[in-house]
Amino acid sequence: MSTARTIPPAPNGAAAGETPPPDALLAMYTTMLTMRRFDERVRDLSAAKAIPGYAHTYFGSEAIAAGVMAALRPDDWIASTYRCHGHAIAKGVALEAMAGELYGRTTGTAKGKGGSMHVSDFDVGMLGAFGIVAAGIPIALGAALTAMRKGTGQVAVAFFGDGAVHQGVFHEGAGLAMLWNAPVVLLCENNQYAEATAIEYHLNTSTIADMACAYAMPAERADGMDVVSAYAAARRAVERARTGGGPTLLELVSYRFSGQYEGDAQGYQPPEEIARWRERDPITTFERLAPERGISTEALARVADEVDRAVDAAFAAAERAPFPEPDDLFDDVYVSYP
């Protein structure tokens, strides 16, 4: 039953559109590097069992969250997935609160009740990470409809992976988004693996973007390994949504350098395939292209220093933060309960 299908090659390089100015680019680089350093710490702490439970790192897709968030306003909404660290960092969730959540401390975004897969922060427009695949899509739609009703001009972006397009809520969400012309971007982060299943074994169209035709929805497929490409594509989709043009299915193609979760032996990903994609690492790609984009190596080094310090400080604070009391588990089940 499972025959491999041919998927067109991943787009490579920036799509048409202006390259942002150096300071904006440097901000995107800072975001990407923060994600990378944060998740390197998560990887090590997870291997050392200092962070319990399942941790899903974002290695390889940093350009997507950095590029998409750069195209958003601070008051726009995102819905994330269980692979949420990168999205949360890019949307502005405090590193200390994220590290605290991973450690299960009271300083965490969910006061330690959620863990790695459940980072949320409404103050920065992070609707939440959802441990159930595709669950955030209709919820982002709801946020978009609210913005539409209130006339705030806000946009909602639903992040999901390539595997999520086989869930009913993806299709239900896409259908209603188009029917109601909602200001929502359905953002497929195609890292080419639905857990252990490579995309050529699970997709029934040639691309994810192809699925949009069933809903008469505008769609685009772009390089998700280059932050400028991701930003440019996201900007087009976000502007469409913000100006009343309705939803877009945006497929950004990246590659999952890590396994599905930390500790996954990754035996199903051919080593030469990983090596080939590592050559397009979004962070080293950025560093290589930096001079021609008007960014000096000194500037990159300064960012690296700042990022290291910020990540160190966040984890150090989280390690010192108090554990919740057992009785705290009864808090926050309801707003009110007699």
């Binding site: 863990g115 441990g131 086989h166 869930q167 299943t197």
Partner: protein
């Protein structure tokens, strides 16, 4: 005799049943080439190929629904839902379709199928990877529900489930997947009867009743009680729908004191049903009110999961309550 963990026993039993009956197919996310995220289907793909060991996309509604269609038309599907928390997108197919198929066709159709799912907490999985959904299923006439706690029981109950004619929800305690190894039968026809529990230990002072993942702590509590000279009867229900009313009533009537343990939330917990039945049937035989030790009526917490789970100390405290009543 093979000595195996729970999860190895699941894989081996599936293998044996697939050899025995070529109508058996296995389907689910990454059950094939990967052998399942917990390796509960390891080896099946190499042995039987992609036509019988079917890797599916993440589509629980379609996985369970397709299993119904296969079952109705002559196959014997065993569907895997990777974590029991993922069953809810497929809930309609299981609860409204599979469970009611026979009834709504006046007995014309039936769906001999098994839906396996790792359940329960204790692995720091957070809200969406730790739930105990058994209450939803025992509240659904038309399904059978089983939640074994040991490798040997997994072998017997899974085989019974696969050879049965009705849809079975087969819950697997994921924190016990590799916790113990024990001898399992080499008899390829070793089965365990539907709806029958088992006495894990005999004693005259108090009856402890549990099932699934919480059996580990329940058995530990009984051992701790024995150190204090208190002898507990320990019942592992194994089957939750139907559950073994006869065994429960007989043992509880004999001893007169009972503590019921389950890590699912408290309200409408299966053990509440068991306690209510005890009260209805043999109230005059009781020396103390039944006491439940359960998870709390909250979502499953990440940091405080040890406080949430009914641990040995909470069980011992409950025993003290029923003994001192």
């Amino acid at each position: 005799m093979a000595v195996q963990t729970f999860v190895q026993t699941v894989a081996r039993t599936l293998m044996q049943e697939m050899r025995r009956d070529d109508r058996v197919v296995v389907l689910g996310q990454d059950v094939g080439k990967r052998g399942g995220v917990f390796l509960a289907t390891e080896g099946l793909f190499d042995a039987f190929g992609p036509d019988r060991v079917i890797d599916t996309p993440l589509s629980e509604a379609a996985i369970i629904g397709a299993a119904i269609g296969m079952a109705v038309h002559g196959l014997r599907p065993v569907a895997e839902v990777q974590f029991s928390d993922y069953v809810f997108p497929g809930f309609d197919q299981l609860v409204s379709q599979a469970a009611k198929l026979r009834y709504r066709s006046g007995g014309s159709f039936h769906a001999p199928m098994v839906v396996r799912m790792p359940a329960g907490g204790g692995v720091k999985g957070g809200h969406h990877h730790s739930q105990n959904p058994e209450t939803h299923f025992v509240h659904t006439p038309g399904l059978q529900v089983v939640y074994p706690s040991t490798p040997r029981d997994a072998q017997g109950t899974l085989r019974t489930a696969m050879r049965g004619e009705d849809p079975v929800v087969f819950l697997e305690p994921k924190r016990l997947y590799r916790a113990v190894k024990e001898e399992v039968s080499d008899d390829p026809d070793a089965t365990l009867p539907v709806g029958k529990g088992v006495l894990r230990r005999e004693g005259d002072d108090v009856v402890l009743i549990s099932y699934g993942a919480s059996m580990a702590e329940t058995v530990q509590a009984a051992a701790a009680l024995a150190q204090q000279g208190i002898e507990a009867d320990v019942i592992d229900l194994r089957w939750l729908l139907p559950w073994d009313e006869e065994l429960v009533l007989e043992r509880v009537a004999r001893v007169g004191r009972v503590v019921l343990v389950s890590e699912a939330p408290r309200t409408a917990n299966l053990v509440s049903e068991v306690a209510a039945t005890i009260a209805e049937e043999i109230l005059d035989m009781l020396e103390a009110p039944p006491v439940r030790v359960t998870g709390f009526d909250t979502p499953y917490p990440y940091a405080q999961d040890r406080a949430y789970l009914p641990g040995v100390n909470r069980i011992l405290y409950a025993v003290q309550q029923v003994l001192e009543y």
